[in-house]
């Protein structure tokens, strides 16, 4: 396992920093986690701290050196962190449990797995293009995706900070999982809070990461987001890795099974949908290819004719 990693958290223009971030790795497995405590609720930073700490400790308990099932781990860790926050609130007779967003990512065997609740994001970037990104649990963001409002209108929408899934809080979190994402050398995985992605136009993050130099690009992006956030800049936090191994190298011939997601049906559908958009050119069938195919068929006809 080989990678370059950079993480940083800044308060922005806020008096406190309610973001918490962490990474941890064993010989063969890497965990990254970002949590954004919710300011509207009491003790937002406590919720974020519990989440990050709980998930990191669980990782250290279970990654020996590989996690048996990364998705199962993520599911258990996020849900248990949710209950840990509720327990904390109950122990102290808090009127309302504190809340936090959470996005966590595991990379092992050159495959990335991630899960999230809320509007902290994960971007998987290859060659400056977004390979995968989490979908915010935000009604406003879903409205943008559905074309009901423009991205511009969303920036000023009164409910832009409202999310419908988080850890803590009265409702059980809705945790969404990625598909298994095989990584190649140079791929970037980036986790960040809305203080980073919020003020930036959508193409800035993948473009900034196109060089793959996370050590420079991460602080540069934070600078840019903080500047754009202006007088009221939110807390900003980000972890980014550049992956240095190559998934394909050691698994030639077994890629198809290895990339099978937990729910093979859903994810295969996605793969088809992507193929259908058909931006990649069709493989060209040359005159020689045609001649060869015809010769092959005629040879088979002769062979099987009696």
């Amino acid at each position: 396992m080989k990678f370059t990693i950079y993480q940083e958290s800044r308060p922005g223009k806020r008096p406190t920093n309610e973001d918490r971030i962490a990474y941890s790795y064993s010989r063969e497995s890497l965990l990254m986690v970002v949590a954004d405590g919710m300011g509207g609720h009491l003790h937002g930073e406590v919720a974020a701290q519990i989440a990050v700490q709980y998930i990191t400790e669980a990782f250290q308990r279970e990654a020996h050196p590989l996690l048996k099932d990364p998705f199962l781990f993520l599911s258990g860790a996020l849900n248990n962190a949710h209950h840990a926050i509720l327990d904390y609130a109950a122990d102290r007779f808090l009127p309302e449990a504190p809340r936090t967003t959470c996005v966590a990512c595991i990379v092992q065997d050159s495959i990335a797995y991630w899960a999230h609740a809320g509007d902290s994001r994960l971007y998987a970037i290859r060659g400056g293009r977004v390979l995968g990104v989490t979908r915010d649990h935000s009604r406003v963001q879903r409205m943008v995706e559905d074309g009901l409002i423009t991205a511009e209108a969303a920036v000023h929408h009164p409910a832009r900070n409202r999310i419908f899934s988080c850890l803590g809080g009265t409702n059980a979190p809705q945790v969404d999982f990625s598909k298994k994402t095989p990584l190649m050398t140079g791929d970037v995985i980036l986790l960040c809070t809305d203080g980073v992605w919020g003020p930036l136009p959508s193409d800035v993050i993948p473009r900034a990461m196109s060089t793959g130099n996370v050590l420079q690009a991460t602080p540069a992006l934070l600078n840019q987001a903080e500047a754009r956030g202006g007088e009221n800049a939110d807390n900003l936090s980000m972890i980014a890795i550049r992956w240095e191994d190559n998934y394909a190298e050691d698994t030639i011939g077994s890629v198809s099974t290895k990339t099978m997601p937990i729910d093979s049906f859903t994810t295969q559908m996605e793969a088809f949908a992507k193929a259908r958009k058909g931006t990649q050119p069709l493989p060209n069938l040359s005159d020689e290819d045609i001649e060869r195919a015809i010769q092959e068929i005629n040879a088979a006809i002769r062979k099987y004719s009696k």
Binding site: F265, Q268, L285, I301
Partner: protein, 314 residues
């Protein structure tokens, strides 16, 4: 603009070593001709000519292909080659035999053995409601021998219907037109949509995103629907409509006087909407057709429950 129909090559046209006699059929993907070879033996020649990509005008031999369609046209040729490649390896009395493959007029041609006779479709039209059980059993038992050979070669026909079942003058059936077979390539070429025939295509063929559900049971649904059509003298309700509101009367209920219960149950078995409940292989179906006494296994309560749980997990 909907694609226009292609103009066939004219009678008397010398195509390679063959002389075109007349057009036999015209589809969206190809044209089939009756032609004669040097020894004056009749052959059927299939010309690759998808009308969404290549159009031939009156008086021309060469089709005109728009610049932007050239790549897709050539890519679609691969489907045609797949069909030829698969059929070339199958030498079976109940499967159409390919004799030659050649290139001309900027496209490709497949030469097949020409069979004299009529399609099962024509036979049904002619003998509306008079088709006997012995006829159905005899035709489909032989046809299934051919289909079994096809499946053995890891190929699915995917367009079995009465008009693709040819009856020789001696009464033996031949499975023809493998144009829909192995349509995996159409997944990423939207210009070449998968073909299916309403009434005979299995429900899983309508769901283009779940190609992995296609299997021998898919062809078996079509075989069941073709047997049903023999009895009803009409195509059964299309599977996509059945999924919404199943109005297809079970064969067992419709013709209890006319056909044996065992045959009717076999037809209904083939036409189950859930592919897991159909015969899973041609062999299983052949066994049912051959064994007149045995009745079709009904899903047990426990089996049904297990299946529902499995579906939930999916």
């Amino acid at each position: 603009m909907p694609p226009q129909a292609n103009v066939p090559l004219p009678p008397g046209y010398q195509l390679d070593e063959y002389r075109i006699e007349r057009q036999l059929s015209l589809g969206g993907f190809s044209i089939v001709y009756l032609a004669f070879d040097k020894e004056d033996t009749p052959v059927a020649i299939k010309e690759y000519l998808p009308n969404s990509l290549a159009l031939r005008s009156q008086g021309d031999a060469l089709p005109s292909i728009a610049e932007e369609n050239v790549a897709t046209f050539r890519y679609g040729m691969k489907c045609f080659f797949e069909e030829g490649r698969a059929l070339a390896k199958i030498s079976h009395p109940n499967v159409v035999r390919v004799q030659n493959f050649f290139r001309a007029n900027e496209t490709v041609y497949m030469v097949m053995h020409y069979e004299r006779g009529r399609t099962l479709q024509e036979h049904i039209q002619k003998h509306k409601g008079e088709i006997r059980e012995s006829f159905i059993r005899a035709i489909f038992a032989r046809l299934l021998n051919g289909l079994r050979e096809v499946h053995t070669h890891k190929l699915l026909h995917l367009d079995i219907k009465p008009s693709n079942i040819y009856l020789r003058n001696d009464g033996t059936p031949v499975l023809i037109d493998f144009g829909a077979a192995r349509q995996t390539l159409s997944l990423d070429t939207p210009l070449l949509k998968p073909m299916y025939t309403p009434g005979f295509a299995a429900p899983e063929q309508y769901n283009n995103t779940r190609r992995e559900l296609l299997g021998p049971w898919t062809d078996i649904y079509s075989v069941g629907a073709s047997m049903y059509a023999c009895m009803a003298a009409a195509a059964p309700q299309a599977a996509d409509q059945r999924l919404e509101r199943d109005q297809l009367a079970a064969a067992v209920k419709r013709w209890p006087e006319k056909y044996s219960k065992q045959l009717l149950e076999t037809v209904d078995w083939c036409m189950r909407l859930n592919y897991l409940e159909r015969p899973q292989s041609v062999f299983a179906l052949q066994k049912a057709l051959a064994d007149k006494a045995r009745s079709v296994p009904r899903p047990t309560f426990l089996g049904g429950l297990r299946k529902r749980v499995r579906d939930l997990i999916k």
